[in-house]
């Protein structure tokens, strides 16, 4: 048997079911490795001793019929966890201890998994590099001083560094797929409405979606099966037939039609990305699929649309942080002064910037010119995909326009940071499922990802295509444990 923390989720489950490993052994192994990996700054809150206690309790009377029997896992600190501090990466919530559990994490615990701790992320999930977190940036285990992507940067770092066998993130504009791409891991953003938003700290409610992050497609499929559920506590949760994604997973994708959108061939795209995409096309072709050129004509307008819609929703969602009912409070001379100081001291610069953009585009006299305009363009973007899906079953694109960049490289230029999400944002605007799988390395040896975009509610096909491609690509992540030595 290989070292515990090097095993995939599927291997760990098999070993626990075969009684070759106990939950306590597995949990202790991940706790120990996490303890040795503090330099990565992946955790905001550790819950290690409670995790070991829960594992011991599980082992006393193990229920091996569960889908995640005694499996330890850390989750993004955007999911409310009952009695465990939940910060959303912000000073504003540094003292917030939820009295309730998010539906997604509850689904996970119901299947036997055990909380290891809460993972770092960009403040209120606003960022693409995990550098906006109040708790400091996260290191990418691939190389020192490299960002792990964002906003689910603690999650991607922790999975790639094997501090947790699997994890969950949230994706509003690419926050699962971009960090997965930067760390050589697999990340799935499910269809809007498949995973409940109840108990997830809100950023932009019409775009936010929780999703699994893992080391391979099969693990990702299993975790998606656990977290995806209809929930009456989320009014946009959709009641549709969910598959047993891991059981029904197949690499037989013969005859599927894969679209290649010409608009994703952007100006100035590095040759390495272009080459990776070409290789990806060859891989899916080898799987017996048919390749079709398609057009998504409004692709170029997706980012500007996103940077109106997301801040507008954020400004409204974040109005609740006023220093009264929970969270940080600064002293003020009067009520208004208290609000203004609380919000100016409690929020970081990027969050303030986005609240102000959102407030402006929704303000009297500007609503039609910005917000309404963006909603109309969003419709055009969705129409593009609807049109394309009359001809194809899925779409293949790069996940990001570059490999992971250096810490500090883009922090002074918000627009260049935003451009990172150019291939992922359209998927959120259209509410579609998308997955990033590791597909190769650039000249520096950093991982690069390919994105597959599916039809709404068609996660099974999407995962099947990813599974078939994964087999052909045979990617090996280059992790040297530099942070432990």
């Amino acid at each position: 048997m290989s070292e515990i923390t090097k095993q995939s989720l599927s291997e760990l489950i098999k070993n626990i079911k075969d009684k070759k490993l106990s939950s306590t052994e597995v949990t202790k192994a991940f706790v120990e490795r996490s303890e040795k990996s503090k330099k990565l700054n992946a955790y905001v809150t550790e819950d290690f001793s409670a995790a070991i206690d829960k594992a011991k309790k599980f082992d006393e009377n193990p229920n091996l019929d569960l889908k995640l029997p005694g499996i330890p896992m850390a989750v993004k600190d955007l999911f409310c966890t009952k009695n465990v501090k939940t910060t959303a990466g912000s000073k504003m919530l540094n003292n917030f201890i939820p009295t309730y559990e998010s539906t997604v994490t509850q689904n996970i615990w119901n299947e036997g998994a055990i909380l290891l701790g809460k993972l770092n992320c960009d403040e209120f999930a606003m960022g693409s590099s995990n550098e906006t977190s109040f708790f400091g940036n996260v290191q990418n285990p691939i190389d020192k001083d490299l960002v792990p992507g964002g906003s689910s940067g603690g999650s991607s770092s922790a999975v790639a560094a094997q501090l947790t066998p699997i994890t969950i993130g949230t994706d509003t504009g690419g926050s699962i797929r971009q960090p997965a791409s930067f760390t050589g891991t697999v990340g799935l953003k499910p269809t809007y409405g498949s995973c409940s938003r109840y108990g997830i700290v809100a950023f932009a409610s019409s775009l936010d979606q929780a999703g699994p992050m893992a080391q391979n497609v099969k693990d990702c499929a299993l975790l998606n099966e656990v977290i995806s559920s209809y929930d009456e506590k989320d009014s946009t949760s959709i009641d549709f037939k969910r598959n047993n994604y891991s059981k029904e997973l197949t690499n037989n994708i013969k005859g599927k039609k894969i679209g290649i959108p010409k608009e994703y061939r952007i100006d100035g795209m590095p040759k390495e990305i272009e080459d990776l995409w070409k290789k990806g096309i060859e891989y899916v072709k080898d799987c017996g699929t048919e390749i079709l050129d398609i057009s998504l004509p409004h692709t170029n307008y997706a980012l500007p649309t996103y940077y109106i819609v997301a801040p507008a929703e954020a400004s409204s969602n974040l109005a609740r942080y006023d220093g009264v009912k929970y969270g940080f409070r600064a002293d003020g001379e009067n009520l208004i002064d208290m609000y203004e100081k609380t919000r100016s001291e409690g929020f970081g610069a990027e969050v303030q910037r986005r609240i102000m953009i959102g407030t402006y585009v929704l303000s009297s006299g500007y609503y039609d010119a910005y917000y309404l305009k963006a909603q109309k363009v969003r419709k055009l973007i969705k129409n593009d995909f609807d049109e394309a899906y009359k001809k194809v079953d899925a779409i293949l694109t790069p996940s990001t326009p570059s490999s992971a960049f250096k810490i500090g490289e883009k922090t002074n230029d918000p627009v260049s940071m935003y451009l990172n999400d150019i291939f992922t944002v359209p998927v959120n605007l259209a509410g579609l499922p998308g997955i990033s799988i590791p597909a190769g390395h650039d000249a520096k040896g950093y991982p690069l990802g390919l994105q597959i975009i599916g039809k709404a509610f068609d996660e099974q096909n999407l995962l099947n295509i990813a599974y078939a491609m994964e087999e052909k690509i045979n990617f090996k992540n280059k992790i040297t444990d530099w942070w432990i030595k």
């Binding site: 009295t99 959709i238 919000r343």
Partner: protein
């Protein structure tokens, strides 16, 4: 379009985020580069396009109007920065 200092002050007031003088210049620069980027949408003619308000094309479900959670007072007040018995406390608003 250019966002001037007066506009920044106005947005700051609307969003209840105080902005000190040192930060105003930098913020104006950042917001202007972001808005320049957003203006790209004006290239598109959208007069006859219906705005998309939700990608989930379902109608909201109705549910019975029943109380499901009770006695949550302690939980609700638990995380408040300042409370007094059963109330949230804020700076004095009435003289």
């Amino acid at each position: 379009m250019s966002i001037d200092l007066k506009t920044i002050k106005h947005i700051s007031k609307l969003s209840r985020i105080s902005v000190d003088e040192k930060k105003v210049e930098k913020l104006a620069g950042d917001l202007n580069s972001i808005f320049e980027f957003i203006e790209k949408l004006n290239e598109l003619k959208t007069d006859n396009v219906q705005p998309l308000t939700s990608v989930a094309e379902t109608t909201l479900k109705l549910r019975d109007d029943k109380v499901k959670s009770k006695n949550l007072r302690d939980q609700i007040i638990k995380n408040s920065p300042q409370e007094n018995e059963d109330y949230f406390v804020v700076p004095k608003v009435v003289e």
